[in-house]
Amino acid sequence: MSVMDKYLSEVVKSIPPSGIRKFFDLVSQTEGVISLGVGEPDFVTPWHIREACLYSLEKGYTMYTSNSGLPELREEIARYQQRTNGLDYDPDKQILITVGVSEAIDIALRALIEPGDEVLVPEPCFVSYAPGAVLAYGKAVPVETFADDQYRLRLDSLAEKISPRSKVLFLAYPNNPTGGIMDREDLMALVDIIIKNDLIVISDEIYSELTYEGEHVSIASLPGMKERTLVMNGFSKAFAMTGWRIGYVCGHSDIIGALTKIHQYTIMCAPIMAQKAAIEALRHGEEQMRKMIDDYNYRRKLIVNSLRQIGMDCFEPRGAFYCFPSVSKTGLSSEEFCERLLMEEQVAAVPGNAFGSSGEGYIRCCYAASVSNIEEAVERMGRLIERHNNA
């Protein structure tokens, strides 16, 4: 225990450090690594978007915006949600611009959770949902999903974990780390139980544009769901804008109002330059975005087929830019496999258990990497597996 430990709150101390962080430190000490461990596009933000930001700086847009964000941006988002999800949101009362979806998740949990309320978190999933729930004095309840179901959330798995204290359900599709998606029918199957148990859904749709097969469906667009869903999205993945930290949340005006209250005291507003860039992205970014998505799609097929060629079991990801192959045939744990892959072959992938215990036995490989790096990384992985099998 460190000297200052006694000053730290129990709730913060109760949260384990991110598994990714641990692995990051290890990778950083290794030279010449091919990394499939990143969680962001390998494109830089398209030039026209960067240029729009520079122009806004030249024009002197360096001040606060309203707490909710620039009205033009909220209007563009309203149009975008109508166009892509068929959802109508009032830009004045039902949309809040946030510092990435990460902020939206944090303030939503703080606005919704009473101490002891339960937050249902389908796993494997992005690393911040469960800690976010705990920081809001709630309890994170993991719900397992499985490769055999293509990582869709099953009704029976969900039903098993619902209790009288259940308040919020996370849905994050297309999914990080698995690349799984939920079709309309898959989501329809959950609507009744969500309504019956009076749950609020936080739908993290940050990878929505990166849907390669089928179309993205927001659960908010299903009957009876719009009022009880917070749709969260942003610009990081589709427009390669991770470092801009710009996202948004749409939902019922009462809830958005509560979120805005926290946002105004803690953040004030998202940076104006990022908001200006986001306007440009929504107005003129479609064509370049499509090109990037086509490019990911080629590499998706390359990595999945290459992994299968070296004998790894890999479920076909239909969204995001990750694949989630199984390493269980080697008998190694996710962490052991990733450590050996790094030490012996200088390839970084993220152990699946960093995304929840149901990710054990899998590794996350990001294919936002060059074709030659993907091929080289898979070849090295094949070498490791062969050596291990022959040992």
């Binding site: 990714i20 990394s35 969680g39 962001e40 074709v371």
Partner: protein, 162 residues
Amino acid sequence: MDLRKRVLELMEHDARLSAKTLATMLEEDEEVIQKLISKMEKEKIILGYNTVINWENAGCEGVTAMIDVKVTPVRDLGFNSIAERVYRFPEVRCVYLMSGTYDLSVVVEGKTMKDVARFVSHKLSTLEHVQSTVTHFVLKRYKQDHFIFEEPEEDKRLVVSP
């Protein structure tokens, strides 16, 4: 999108993608891709493959000029026969027919300015039907065929992130 177009789009950006890699990316048979490429080579859809080189970094300096050429079109043949006489010179890298104040844009490469000047005065401007030439020397190359010459675009991402 048809397969041919998808293959071409991928190869336009990286000619070194092997038939095997292309086949894996497009979920096609390697042999199908190989045959398709050979067919496109025969049909002159794929004219050839070359490398984008920063000769300055290789320590080999050269000179490139863009020459605006005004010509008198030839009856029945228009500009084509003159363009053909121009593009057959090995010094000529590109020839385009242009709209606007001149007719042909000719990109010429030489070892020295003198080389290029000699080509223009001795070979190009003396061609029948060539009325005038204006030569612009390239001072600096910033970008060519999608590649930026100055700063290498390196991966600035963290090696591992959530």
